[in-house]
Each structure stands twice: as C-alpha cells, then as structure tokens.
C-alpha cells in the first residue's frame, strides 16, 4: 500500500520479537500459556497458546483492541488453572494490571507481561486485515494516550510509536455535549439508553476490574437491584456498575464494545474519571502504588455541596 505515511502503518513492529519471547517462555517452562492475539475469520481475536510451535500465530496490529487483562481477573479461575500466564499487553492494558495489583487481586510473580509499543487501535476491529489509523476509524479512547511506553512489563517489544490521531469527536467532547443539555433532556437521554439494557451483564463479565466473587446485582436478600430488565432496575444497575468503577475504571472501553444494545457506557465512565480528576486530582495510572480515590481520603477534600 502506497500513500500511507511511515508513522501510520497498520501492523506494529516487534511482532517477531514478541513471538520469539513467547516461544522461549513456553520452551523454558516459565509460563504454561501465552495469551495474545491471533488473526481469525472476523479479525483479530484473543488466543491461548500452549505449544511453542504455535507462537507464530501471535499478531499485533491496529485490530488488537481487546484488553486481555480480563483473563487475569480472579473471577476467571479456570484461566489460572492453566498454570502461569504470559500475557501480551498494550500500554493501556497495563493500567488494568496495575489496578489488580493495587487491589491485591493478582500477584506480580504469577504473570509474565510482554508489553507491546502501541500507537492506537481501531474502533471497529472485525475486519480481515489491519488498516492504518485515521481520525474516522481510531478508537476514541486512544486519544491522549499516556502509556505508549509501558513500564509495568517484563519484556517490551516494538519501536516507539507516534501519538494516535485525534478522533473526529473525542469522548470528552461527547461528555461536554451531554453536560450542555438541560437536566430533563439528560435524564431522558440516559433513561432511554438504560431502558435498552437487557441485563446480560456482558459489561461486567468483560471488565478486568469487576472482581467481586459475588456481585451485588445477584444478591436477592435483600434485593438491592431489581433483576428484571425494566427501566427502574436498569437505572439502578447501570449507576451502580459505574459507581463501583469510580476511580478504578481504566478506560479500556470493553464494556461498551461488548454491550449488545450499544449503551454508551464510555461516557458514564469518562464522566466519573473527570469527577475524580477534578475533585481529587486523580488520574488512573499504571503505577500499582497509586491509591484509588474511593477508599482513600484527604482531610481537606472539597465539600462545597455539603451544608
């Protein structure tokens, strides 16, 4: 393909190194399984590689949107049963690893992290071959990425990548547009969106940070959140899901990508990120030592809304 700038190639560098490291880890017995991406009939998809000969399956290009850290989630004990995991992670994914480490959900020694230098991924990944990023097709969450150089990794492959392109409409702009609407219209917008919810809980299942063994929505005595998919229970569920991730959400956008009815959960998550940033100067990072804002406090926290 000609006409594509050198800084906008669809396939990232370092794939050969990634395959070599994966093969060596498996051959040496340092890990029992490598979790990365492969090319499938509908685009990139997660793959579990246990045979060193299969490591040539591994790819890394702009279609690799999945946050594979969800497989480290302690709820997925069937993954942990495979043995020690080698995980391929983008910079943004390492924030989820940091989150799990911060909350003592995973031990650093239990996973080998192969970091890949990433310059952004596509919003729509189910395409047979990777394409270069443009403002129209880039995942909006990639804008302003601050972990293109992952630090929380054991191996790092690939060349340093340029900043992802600015999307046509950024998430912050969409949040700001909602905030400019009158209260009644916002209420109408969100209750309409939430009323579509079918309560499949895909948002929870895919989330790397939803770590509770027993989710509040499945508690029936007392029944805090009504399980039927009607607007009242849906509002309660969606608000609760978002609040439980306040200051913890790492903005991977998997909840929205997996939502079968297309609820713009990213906007709620981003709003909460803005709240904790404005009020508590907190930004989710790949540093496991950085305490989350909910569960922490300062004596001089803002309280302008308290009488």
């Amino acid at each position: 393909m000609t006409g594509i700038a050198a800084d906008a190639v669809p396939v990232y560098t370092g794939v050969a190194d990634m395959r070599r490291i994966a093969r060596e880890l498996l051959e040496a017995g340092d890990v029992r399984v490598i979790i990365g991406w492969e090319s499938g009939p509908r685009g990139a998809r997660p793959v579990f590689v246990t045979d060193p000969a299969d490591t040539d399956k591994l790819i890394f290009d702009t279609r690799c949107v999945h946050n594979l850290v969800t497989y480290l989630n302690p709820r997925r004990d069937h993954v942990a049963e495979l043995g020690k995991i080698g995980l391929v992670v983008k910079g943004c994914d390492t924030k989820a690893v940091a989150g799990l480490l911060r909350e003592s959900q995973v031990r650093r020694d239990d996973v080998v992290l192969i970091g890949v230098r990433c310059g952004g991924v596509l919003e729509e990944n189910e395409i047979p071959a990777a394409v270069a990023l443009t403002p129209e097709n880039v995942a909006p969450r990639c804008y302003g990425c601050d972990v293109r150089e992952p630090t929380l990794v054991d191996h790092l492959v690939g060349e340093p990548q340029p900043e992802p392109p600015r999307p046509v409409t950024t998430i912050d702009e969409r949040v700001a547009a909602l905030e400019d609407m009158p209260l009644e219209e916002r209420w109408a917008f969100w209750t309409d969106q939430f009323s579509n919810c079918v309560r499949c809980y895909a948002c929870r299942q895919v989330c790397p940070m939803c770590v509770c063994e027993s989710c509040i929505v499945e508690k029936s005595q007392p029944q805090w959140i009504e399980p039927a998919a009607h607007p009242r229970g849906n509002l309660s569920w969606n608000v609760t899901r978002a609040l439980h991730l306040a200051g913890r959400c790492i903005d991977c956008g998997e909840c929205e990508r997996f939502c079968p009815v297309g609820i713009p959960l990213t906007l709620v998550n981003r709003k909460l990120q803005q709240i904790v940033a404005d009020r508590y100067d907190y930004k989710v990072s790949d540093d496991p030592e950085n305490p989350t804002p909910i569960g922490d406090y300062r004596l001089d926290d803002q309280q302008e809304f308290i009488k």
Partner: protein
C-alpha cells in the same frame, strides 16, 4: 420549573449517623423546634455505612428527595467514616447530576449532636427545595407499573415491584 406545588407534600428520606445527626435531630425534638414533618429518618451507625444503593432504593420506593447527614469533619466516632463518605457522596452527587437528577433533591450536611437548630434548617430547606421541584415523577415513571411495562407487572412476584414485603 415555573409551576408551583403548594399542595404537594414531599417525601424525603434522611440517612443520618447515629452519633451526631440522629442525636442532633433528637435534640431538635426535645427542644420543641418546629420543622417540616416530611422527613423519614433512617439511622445508620455512621455515614461511612452508606452505599449509593440506599439512595437509589429510596428513590425507587417513592422518595422525592434524600438527605444525608453525619458528623462534622474531625468528629467521626469511627475517626474517618465521614471522610470516606464525603468522597462517595461527591461522586454519587456529580454522577446523578450527569444522569439528569436535579441536585436539589440530594441534600448533604454535617449536623452535630448539639446542632438541633441546624437540623431544623437543613430539613426545612430540603423540603422547600423539593416542594419547589415537585414530585419525582420522572423516577416513578421508570417503575414497571407505568406505561408500556405495565404488562411486566402481571408476571412480577408480589413484593418486588414497590410493595413492602
């Protein structure tokens, strides 16, 4: 909102801490202070006990507004419960405003055991605010009993859709 709701009596649920605000409300009572009678108090051990689901449940069960009140900063019986609560209040407050709930339906205050008069003022102001806003019909409209979801009620077990169990 331009229309008036003079004949509307708001229902307000107050979540108060055992050590400060509950005692403060008790003082307001024993002091024979006159205040609006629209508030139902739920006593909790500490504001740190609170979960945003309490507030959502109150709205679900027909509250037009909520009050959350506890010990002043540095006065918490458990040292830091109110500090933790303050952050959770703030996040809940801002998120609900983003979702479209008028923040005047959610009152937060610090009322100590000696501030019976302040409790009266908090209650009167909250009731006045909610009275001006009118009933929280927007939330009630979400209930399965209303509109197109009325059919769903037929299959919902008793006690699940708003009746006390």
């Amino acid at each position: 909102m331009t229309e008036t709701h003079d004949d509307f009596e708001p229902r307000i649920t107050a979540f108060v801490c055992n050590w400060c605000t509950y005692t403060g409300a008790d003082l307001a009572g024993t002091s024979r202070l006159h205040m609006a009678s629209n508030v139902r108090i739920i006593r909790l051990p500490c504001t740190g006990r609170m979960d945003p689901l309490f507030f959502l449940k109150a709205f679900e069960r027909g509250a037009d507004g909520i009050i959350v009140s506890g010990c002043h900063p540095a006065d918490c019986h458990y040292t830091s419960g109110n500090y933790h609560a303050r952050r959770r209040f703030a996040v809940f407050h801002d998120l609900m405003e983003f979702i479209g709930v008028d923040p005047r339906r959610m009152t937060f205050s610090w009322v100590s055991a000696s501030e019976g008069a302040k409790w009266r003022d908090v209650v009167d102001e909250a009731v006045a605010n909610v009275r001006a806003l009118g009933p929280f019909d927007a939330y009630r409209a979400l209930t399965p009993e209303s509109g197109e979801t009325a059919a769903a009620r037929e299959t919902t077990p008793a006690g699940v859709d708003g009746d006390a169990p």
